[in-house]
Amino acid sequence: MSVISYQEAALQAVAEEMRRDHRVWALGEDLGRGGVFGQYRGLLEEFGPQRIADTPISEATIMGASVGAALVGTRPVVEMRFADFALCAVDEMVNQAAKARFMFGGQARVPMVIRQPSGMWRSSAAQHSQSLEAWYAHIPGLVVVAPYTPADNKGLLKSAIRCDDPVIYIEHKDNWALEGEVPDEADYLVPLGPARLARTGNDLTLVTWSKMVGVAEKAAALASLQGMEIEVIDLRTIWPWDQELVFASVAKTKRLMVVHEAVQVGGFGAEIAATVAEHMAHVLTAPICRMGAPRAPISYAKPLENQLRITPEQIVATASRQIGH
């Protein structure tokens, strides 16, 4: 085990996969200088400008060209710089990457990883702060991944690069400096799909992902001081999501809360809540609770931005009501 950052973990993942498979390459804006967040630092020196390709600011063609390059046998790692900018390439993601395999009757696959640094970080306003994982979870053909820990960022990114499906890979911008233990083994993989049990507890199941895992863990620690034990599930993969682990946990705690940074309306929490309600209503002892952002664009001014953030205290207060304290 080594203690490294989320950013270094991602860097190791890409470097290892590029060494392992000559068909893997990365492309996007400013990759040559290491990417906006340093998540490609040093790769140009090792792999050269063909495999670490600096592109024009042309999101549609970064994505569309990656589809073409994937169809002919390469494995692109597509850097979108900010998740918000991927919206300039939605046709290429949704109409082309996600559907090509199916529309063409399985003749070809589109093995590509679409990296989308996401989420609120300070003072970045409405076009640099969004969390849109629910949009992509809605699209047949796509896999959606949102790691929280450095270890998962390494192991899941490596698995995503080896996956033959197009994978929307959501890294939280507030997590780049987050440090954690990461296994040293050369082929450390985390499978796409299974969730991670971040904390055990008997009173309430809290399902969350990405940066909100950290917030939920803080909330669980606070709640424990008040005598409530919250089980925290880090979903890690949004599609397909780990129903088995969530169902098992809800069977034990009999209460479910879903927390995400994205807008609550139509968020992926609704899918989890509805699925649990459909299958497990008979075991629930309290109504399912969702916590997400209000349906408002993200503000620039700090006090306004704070209105959109979910805090550990809010989670504890909600959990407390749900548990009936």
Binding site: G64, L71, A100, F104, G105
Partner: protein, 337 residues
């Protein structure tokens, strides 16, 4: 500067022109059969005909290797046939039947045949441009000497991916031939009415691409010019751009009567039908009426056979609606009926 004079008047070999004519005739026969099947309701959905534009498909693809690749549009039957896709599999696809190029999952607008280097038609205008560029980028990364031809229409040049894709091909010096089929229409609107400036070639040249113009109804001219361009592109000369002037003799789809066009002008364009023109050239080169009739009848007979076979074929197994979607997180089939 357009390179109109770059290619001297061609001296096409008679046998080669016969083969080009045969390709064009097969495309025409396929589309006439598809049109009939569409109008009678046996083929559902939109069928976009390229009738009148066959010389471009035939003249370009005659210069490609099987390992070369193309992308095409919603109006792509001709490009598929010219690149070597089996019309039988194509017709099965139009009918949504088993054995179609895509197993009945794509239909006319999503025909693909990767074995023949046909990387897919596309239902979104200009969407094939970045894909073609990426296929060429991939070839370069893998060290393969393939050329990629990207077909699109004059309606596509007003979409952003046109500019982005051409710039990309130019910046990365990729082996792509862009072929703009100027058929006069952007769906059911006259292209000229919605296109500013001096047009496609000027746009291409502004991005550093050498751009050429050709009479797209003259198959020998297309063949001759593309025959010069492909070896240059394969040899590392970078992307090239070709505007081929033609006319869409039919409506936007099989059911579009095209009332928005000047009817006299449209009728007069049938006199420039590339098939009539090529047949006349062949007669001048000594090809007999009997030989021409044999080609025509052969094409019609071939397409009758494939249409009858497609009609008689079975639909795909129901669980096919749930396959070929994804490895991770694929849906589980259950009978919905």
């Amino acid at each position: 500067m357009p390179n109109n004079d770059a290619h001297p008047k061609h001296n096409i070999d008679r046998d080669r022109l016969v083969e080009l004519y045969r390709t064009m005739r097969r495309i025409r026969a396929f589309e006439e059969a598809a049109e009939k099947a569409s109008l009678s309701g046996r083929v559902g959905g939109a069928v976009h005909l390229s009738i009148g534009q066959e010389a471009i498909a035939a003249g370009v693809c005659a210069n490609l290797r099987r390992s070369d690749q193309i992308t095409t549009t919603h109006r792509g039957h001709g490009h598929c046939i010219a690149k070597g896709t089996d019309p039988g599999a194509m017709m099965l696809e139009l009918f949504g039947k088993q054995g179609g190029t895509c197993g009945g999952k794509g239909g006319s607008m999503h025909i693909a045949d990767f074995q023949a280097g046909m990387l897919g038609a596309n239902g979104v205008v200009a969407a094939g441009i970045p894909i073609a560029v990426g296929a060429a980028h991939g070839a370069k990364l893998l060290g393969e000497d393939r050329v990629v031809v990207c077909f699109f229409g004059d309606g596509a040049i007003n979409r952003g991916p046109f500019m982005e894709g051409l710039n990309w091909a130019s910046v990365f010096h990729l082996p792509v031939l862009f072929v703009c089929e100027q058929n006069g229409f952007a769906s059911t609107t006259h292209s000229d009415a919605v296109t500013a400036g001096p047009g496609a070639n000027a746009r291409a040249e502004s991005l550093g691409l050498e751009a050429f113009e050709v009479d797209g109804n003259d198959v020998a001219a297309v063949d001759g010019l593309v025959g010069d361009l492909i070896p240059r592109i394969r040899g590392g000369a970078g992307p090239k751009f070709l505007s081929a002037q033609t006319y869409r003799l039919k409506g936007h789809t099989s059911v579009d009567p095209g009332h928005y066009r000047d009817q006299d002008y449209a009728a007069a364009q049938w006199e420039k039908d590339p098939l009539l023109r090529t047949a006349a050239d062949l007669r001048r080169l000594g090809v007999s009426e009997a030989q021409l009739a044999l080609i025509d009848k052969g094409a019609d007979a071939e397409m009758k056979v494939v249409t009858d076979a497609a009609e008689a074929a079975d639909y795909p197994a129901l669980e096919q609606a749930f396959t070929d979607i994804q490895d991770i997180g694929a849906p589980v089939w259950r009978d919905q009926s």
